[in-house]
């Protein structure tokens, strides 16, 4: 069985605000969770994992990291003409890449990327490949060569769905901390070939992709800083306990505090 994981490399400062991580690019945290789920399946079922990513020259290390983490193959859709792709174009290029890979059973995507935040690629890609798609996936419960059973979570309820393969599932959560891989795994990954395809290899016109065909553009992504109002409670432990209990019971009178 074959699982294809769609991975995007994103700039590290969008993920790690304090720059504790060392690389310029890291795996988009949503895709990291998707990959982790694929690896979990591989730990129990006989299958191969192919990672596929569209991105510029500088993202090679991210694909090496995918290989080191447990992906068997890595495909890199790399062409200057792909620059500036929106979701419509991205899904087009990815669908071409996936078709060129050949047979597959399951495609796994993360819900969105931290630099685009559009959340459209998974569904768009399924549409282009003409396969069923389930979004909001929390967990893959069962995996056979004919179908998978997944748990889908919504705000107020959850569903357990059985879906025929081939299919595409979109994981809703993200994973921030990438497991460090051993130096040996890293070395083996570095030795593996990463398959690099340009628009020529994918047999389509350059003007069919990139900025030229993009219908939308993400101009900027800024994290929203949510500052919660805080109150410093002073006094001895007894006084603090009284204030906290008043706060919990909604009886706190700020005007008379102090």
């Amino acid at each position: 069985m074959k699982i294809i994981v769609c991975v995007k490399a994103v700039r590290q400062e969008l993920v790690f605000i304090n720059k504790v991580q060392q690389s310029t690019y890291v795996i988009n945290p949503y895709d990291l969770l998707a990959l982790q789920n694929a690896i979990n399946i591989k730990n129990t079922e006989a299958c191969t994992i192919d990672c596929i990513s569209m991105g510029p020259d500088s993202i090679r290390e991210v694909l090496v990291k995918c290989l080191a983490l447990g992906s068997d193959n890595a495909y890199w859709l790399n062409d200057k003409a792909f620059a500036g792709a929106d979701t419509i174009v991205t899904t087009y290029v990815l669908s071409k890449g996936i078709s060129k890979i050949g047979e597959y059973d399951l495609i796994i995507c993360g819900e969105q990327t931290v630099d685009g935040e559009t959340g459209q690629v998974g569904i768009g890609l399924a549409e282009r490949l003409n396969i069923p798609c389930i979004t909001n996936v929390e967990e893959i419960i069962d995996f056979t060569d004919k179908y998978i059973i997944v748990c889908v979570k919504y705000e107020d309820h959850e569903e357990v769905l059985k879906i025929q393969l081939p299919a595409l599932v979109v994981f809703k959560n993200f994973k921030l901390i990438s497991n460090t891989v051993s130096l040996l795994h890293l070395k083996k990954a570095q030795r593996k070939e990463i398959v690099r395809w340009s628009s020529n290899d994918l047999c389509f016109e350059k003007n069919w992709c990139g900025l030229a065909q993009a219908k939308t553009r993400v101009v900027n992504v800024t994290p929203e800083l949510i500052v919660k109002e805080g109150r410093l409670i002073s006094g001895n432990a007894k006084k603090k306990a009284v204030v906290i209990s008043q706060l919990i019971q909604g009886r706190f009178d700020a005007d008379n505090y102090g």
């Binding site: 690389s23 290390e61 090496v64 901390i177 460090t180 051993s182 130096l183 040996l184 070395k187 570095q190």
Partner: protein, 377 residues
Amino acid sequence: MDFSMSQEQNMFKRETIDFIRNNLNLEEFYEKYSPEMWQKVAEFGLLGITIGEEYGGLNESYLTAAIIFEAFGYACKNNGFTFVINNHIWVSQNLIYLYGARFLKDKYLKLMVSGERIGAIAITEVEAGSDALSMHARAEKDDQGYVLNGNKMFISNGPIADIFIVFAVTEHSQPKKITAFVVEREFKGVKIGKEIGKMGLNACPTSEVIFNNCYIPKENVLGQYNQGELLLTYALEWERFYEFVPHIGVMQRIMEQCSEHVRTRKQFGIIIGDNQSLSHKIAEMKVAIEMSKQMMYKIAWLKDCGKTAFTETSIFKLYVSENYIKTCRDALQIFGAYGYTKEYDIERELRDALACSIYSGTNEMQKNTIYKMLSFI
């Protein structure tokens, strides 16, 4: 000369830094050895960077190893633990790999690279410090092997090690002849003394190791019989390089801490970094780091070419250690009373650093060597 790092080296370096920050900076183990941390380092694959793949190593170059260990010093705040690893790799495992017979390699290397066995080196004795060759430990030859008697002092990793590289007199002629042996902790007649309390590097336990009629099979001679003196110089060359490479990383870490502090701490209405007396200290740290790195690249290159670097490693050891200590001393001054407290780590950094002008041959001895070697240049 090309000073750029390859993508592979960059990835190794980054992964090492991330691994260390996620796993090795646990404050509870700053002053005591942690077997769990050792296990993690072994699984991460750090122990066998330059060892051949047939023994589970990575077979990487000495330059790559230097880059990784500089990063190790930079990321790992536990200098004692760094010392444990370096003693194991460079003056124990590495000696078996480079100078050991096939039998010794097959017997010990896999276990050492996988971290199942910890190594140590035993040269120093109570009455033989700088004058190491005046050692008294002796190994008498018989048909099957050697009988070792003597006491070795200040043995880093002593209390936790399974395998000791021991130097002992094997011929009492003038000058006397020395041989190196691979001695297992389990050999009859090996006794580990109690742990020696130290000023710093406390995550690396130190002890005396006593050999009382310890029987060593003849296969466990490391290198050639009676050629131990040569092996000792090789061992010290490796030690003076790779035990001091991480110190460059530590200097970088401390410099960054100092830069941050002088930019945020205000006195007399200005940030203290605006005082030249402090900014110059940081500039000097930067100069020392850069100069040390240049020398590091040169020695790594010499080693990758299969050349000796006897004088170079003496110069490196001397320069890095003096500047490492100076950096810590200056950091203490920059942090003022905060640096003197236990809360800010600077006092521990200084305590850890001070030993480096003593181990691997004192700095005075390095100057003697460098001066002596001038006549060979």
